[in-house]
Symmetry: C2
Subunit: 340 residues, 2 copies
DNA sequence: TAGATAAATGACAGCGCTAACATTTGTCAA
DNA sequence: TTGACAAATGTTAGCGCTGTCATTTATCTA
């Protein structure tokens, strides 16, 4: 047992100070129940006094698993994922695991690369977005030998566990609502055409087809990331292209807010001449004038559930419900409350 | 040299396959220039073929530093920090370092705890928010033996490096602008009273005092996190409390948007009867009706600069400018364009 | 050609911790 | 009192990599 130059405290030093062996200290920290209360207390005091924090690298090297939980999402800075992250962090705060974030930038190839990097760390668990992994990624995840939770959507063939909801049905609910409210020329605005957006589009199309209202000209999509500004622009385009439009279903709320603003500038009255519906129910849509109808999704809850499932998996507890559909809720507000 | 049960490839296996020793493979991966081109190429091929990814835990344990760069921010889900993160990630994508995020929840104590956890990993670099660390945290950072960049603000006594701007001056510019536009009863709405918000308040007060317009009744603060909804509520309160108010300087743009919406509901005309100014210049404030004046800050750039400074520090390059003031820019828009 | 020097490579130890097994200690029934 | 058994603790080895220093090989000069 020797002290190091850099002043960091090691297990051995704690062990020496507490008059026990290193392994006992290790156990006291990771499985306190197998160490006698007396030793545990002595160790606790010494750890506190010396400010000992275990080196996760050494721990990871010595064990078959590290304390890293990997989270693979398309974008760290997207509102929607930010909410999911908040949920994850809220549960993880009390735990000994570290979160490792990575950012696939909506690319399946990049996802695969990042997955390999995650796996090189022998993670304790993994959370990945969506259900459209490449075959190679799926194989990697199957072999990962740790709990894996797919989030954002539900679908057939879970790799391991899943928490999400049906974007297709969410869109159907929104568009059906607009049809019920008497709108007939309902447009779709889509940005960042990721798989989930695609499925929302499909839901939109299925409802309009069923009512014989489908019209290609009313569908406007762009690969650009969605912003309020973009909503303004897309709606401006739409007005040029199809001035007869009487409602807009937006891929998400940022666009919907943009549409509202642009409609106001054009003196198009909402909801009388134009119905607007968003997706996700971000907090802002409840307080605009008029307030905007949206499909509420349970993003923070999704994060919490996902990480709890991972933790349960790590603890070896049986997960009673490996695939959880959180559903959604249509929140009808003023922007689709057309009268007469 | 032996293979492992779990199928993961090790350095030794690569070395054997390439007909060199393990250390040569290690060097080929980390400092290719010291390995002969022939060996380098053979190793590259084998690595590719076997899909070898080095174990960062083993590497961290063997070296005095890990490849972790720690980022300590108050909230992962705040728009402002999300932008900073985007900047950091954009630079880091091409690098071999991993980002480790932590979330102090605006608590100095929590910051200190998280810092200890970071340091237990012997990070390659650290980015921390703000300049109000506790004495203990400052000590830890001084001893950290890695580049440290403080972001969000500038101030005296940098721990190591700094990138930010003056919130005090930003607020002064905003409030001066409102005074210039003829507003006389200018209120301050503040949420989440963190140190930066406090400094903005100070800037606000200094301008109003200089003009003899200071009035306690016009200052409304809350510890709650800022949202658009909260902006609505605070403004409603303000109207009850001080109906003579003719302008509002908001702590940040979420609040400003909320104030605008609430003003519209109350049929208070903006900018004629009420001036509004936000802070940060989020994208939405440019497209509201009317558009909202704000103080533009360079958040993504701040992230990019900060991580570049860390990387330069790691590489041992001299950082020519250890304290960078990115400034701000007042973007005057319709919400303060009172005429007459 | 020998000797000096640089470039490339290798042997070895050890980073701090934990798994697996070994040993000690305490407790109880027969 | 002894043996059986569980609880508590210890010993040993090794996780996969890199720092240090030693050695080999190539290159050049006198």
């Amino acid at each position: 047992m020797k002290k190091r130059g850099d002043g960091r405290i090691t297990l051995d030093e704690i062990a020496a100070a507490a008059g026990v062996s290193a392994i006992t200290v290790s156990r006291a920290l990771r499985k306190p129940e197998v160490v006698s209360p007396a030793a545990r207390e002595r160790i606790r005091i010494v750890v506190e006094e010396l400010g000992y924090v275990p080196d996760p690298a050494a721990s990871a090297l010595a064990s078959p698993r590290s304390d890293v939980i990997g989270v693979l999402i398309p974008s760290v800075t997207n509102n929607v994922f930010a909410d999911v992250l908040r949920g994850i962090y809220s549960v993880l705060e009390a735990e000994r695991f570290r979160l490792q974030l990575a950012n696939s930038r909506y690319s399946t190839l990049e996802e695969e690369r990042l997955l390999r990097i995650f796996l090189s760390q022998r993670p304790a668990g993994l959370i990945v977005s969506g259900i459209d992994q490449s075959e190679a990624s799926r194989k990697l995840l199957f072999r990962a030998d740790c709990p894996v939770v797919q989030i954002m959507e539900t679908g057939p063939d879970p790799i391991d566990m899943m928490v999400g909801f049906s974007h297709y049905e969410g869109a159907r609910a929104a568009v059906s609502h607009m049809v019920d409210r008497g709108y007939r020329r309902i447009a779709f605005l889509g940005a960042r055409m990721d798989p989930r957006t695609q499925r929302r589009l499909k839901g939109y199309e299925s409802v309009l087809r069923a009512h014989g209202m489908h019209d290609e000209r009313l569908i406007l999509c762009t690969p650009r990331a969605s912003t309020v500004q973009l909503g303004c622009e897309l709606f401006a385009d739409l007005c040029d292209r199809a001035p007869e439009v009487d409602a807009v279903f937006c891929n998400n709320d940022d666009l919907a807010v943009g549409v509202l603003f642009e409609a106001q500038r054009r003196r198009i009255s909402v909801p009388q001449s134009l119905g607007i519906c968003g997706f996700n129910d971000l907090e802002i849509v409840a307080v605009t004038n008029p307030s905007i109808t949206s499909v509420r999704t349970f993003r923070e809850d999704m994060g919490r559930r996902a990480i709890r499932m991972v933790l349960a998996g790590i603890a070896g507890k049986p997960v009673e419900e490996p695939v959880v559909d959180l559903g959604f809720e249509l929140i009808a507000r003023e922007s689709t409350a057309r009268t007469g």
